[in-house]
């Protein structure tokens, strides 16, 4: 009897230990992106854009060329990169504060122009990095350091990003996934695969939204956080494919 490795750390990530808190699902999402990079032979061929948030250091983690973008501007940075490097896979990795708050104009206009890039959007319903402030995705009633009495309607109804982006003609592929259990992790990885394929086929803008946890910001154990993601977040942020115009679309060629 011998042994066969059936799961090992992906080469799509570097060896650096991740900087995330224990049990933070940023790590799971990183692994999935790394695995897709590996499986699509994109290691050392692609360019990632790290944003500002807990994942700011992701330039240390993804095993490819990386550029760190100002808060919210990753889609614009990726646009700049992709326009001059049209044959390289370009992706951003952004939190919900980054993408849905300060970076709203940039993500919408990247979709609007159907930039041939992929956005990994990590929605943990909070600003993790800066100490747990309210995000546009924070749920009603959720306590954060800037909604200390629980988010009230007065502070707005949480934004649903993929639903909104689906109305933009330029958006090609949009899906919302979760990583709260192995089954959903497998689905989530398939979504990333699809998004990167869209890009390889020059079909334009793709974005995958991940329901993610922030045990520290939410003040819960990591496993309780998964439960909260599943039972409280997903009902407001239903999973699924929100846009898929791959078939209709002639390859977009931007060179």
């Amino acid at each position: 009897m011998s042994t066969k490795v059936v799961y090992e750390p992906t080469k799509g990530l570097t060896d650096s230990p991740l900087s995330y808190c224990p049990g933070c699902t940023h790590g799971i999402i990183h692994k999935l992106v790394g695995e897709v990079l590996e499986e699509q032979n994109l290691i050392g061929e692609s360019i990632g854009v790290a944003s500002v948030g807990c994942s700011v250091m992701s330039y240390e983690f993804f095993n490819c060329d990386m550029q760190q973008a100002p808060h919210g501007r990753a889609p614009a940075v990726a646009t700049g990169i992709k326009r001059v490097k049209p044959n390289h896979t370009v992706f951003t990795y952004q939190g919900d504060g980054d993408l849905a708050s300060i970076g709203m104009a940039e993500v919408i206009h990247a979709a609007h122009r159907s930039e041939n890039i992929t956005i990994i959007f990590v929605n943990n319903a909070i600003y993790g990095m800066t100490g747990g402030q309210m995000a546009p995705t924070t749920l009603i009633g959720q306590k954060t350091t800037t909604s200390p009495r629980g988010r009230s309607l007065d502070q707005g109804m949480p934004l649903r990003i993929v639903e909104m982006l689906a109305t933009i003609p330029g958006a090609t592929y949009l899906e919302r996934v979760s990583v709260h259990d192995p089954k959903h992790i497998i689905k989530a990885k398939k979504a990333i695969h699809k998004a990167f394929e869209v890009q390889t086929n020059k079909q334009g803008f793709s974005l995958i939204e991940f329901i993610s946890t922030c045990p520290i910001g939410w003040g819960m154990t990591p496993n309780d956080s998964l439960e909260w993601a599943k039972n409280t977040m997903i009902p407001y942020y239903p999973l699924g494919v929100y846009k898929d115009t791959r078939e209709e679309r002639e390859p977009w060629i931007k060179e």
């Binding site: 900087s19 808190c21 807990c54 990095m129």
Partner: protein
């Protein structure tokens, strides 16, 4: 002379609160004091520390580069700050997590098995209070009574239920440090 204190340990060991209790007490006694946290993402999962100055004259530079008291709640913290302690100073270590360490011979060392004692209290969160108890044996400015008052304020309202446990931890730390000095 000023007391220049560094409190250092893992994130989650209550290091910041420990330092704040000192500064709150100093404030209540109308002393000059300043508390400075080390802040930032490097504190995440890594080490955390804060510094406190207590003085009866106005404090100029708020930084503590050379503490005269170091409270080291874990080994990396001890390594980081040990050599900064001024000769004649005091190092109080959490000996549950810091074993077989060769200490300098020009400082007073107080070893206190805070984690073990806290486990005895069935609450690891009391480690900081046990260390604070140990500090009390070295305090120049802060009276026992004043620290107790601060604790009463700190654990009041919703946290009032935690007061007895923390008082107990404090007393245990004090006793241990006094008897092993």
């Amino acid at each position: 002379m000023d007391q220049r204190i560094i409190v250092a340990g893992f994130g989650g060991q209550g290091v910041m609160l420990l330092g704040q209790v000192l500064s709150y007490t100093a404030t209540a006694l109308d002393l000059h004091t300043v508390w400075i946290p080390s802040y930032g993402p490097e504190t995440r999962g890594g080490t955390a520390n804060c510094s406190v100055i207590i003085s009866d004259t106005p404090i100029h530079s708020p930084l503590v580069e050379y503490p005269n008291i170091l409270l080291a709640l874990n080994e990396p913290s001890l390594r980081k700050f040990e050599n900064k302690v001024t000769p004649g100073g005091v190092i109080i270590t959490n000996s549950s997590l810091i074993k077989d360490h060769v200490f300098r011979d020009d400082v007073t060392v107080i070893e206190i098995p805070a984690n073990d004692m806290a486990l005895g209290l069935e609450n690891l969160k009391t480690v900081n209070m046990i260390m604070l108890g140990a500090f009390m044996t070295q305090s120049t400015f802060l009276s026992e009574e004043a620290i107790h008052k601060t604790l009463e304020k700190t654990f009041s309202g919703a946290k009032a239920a935690l007061l007895p446990l923390n008082q107990q931890a404090l007393a245990m730390g004090y006793e241990h440090a006094r008897s092993h000095a």
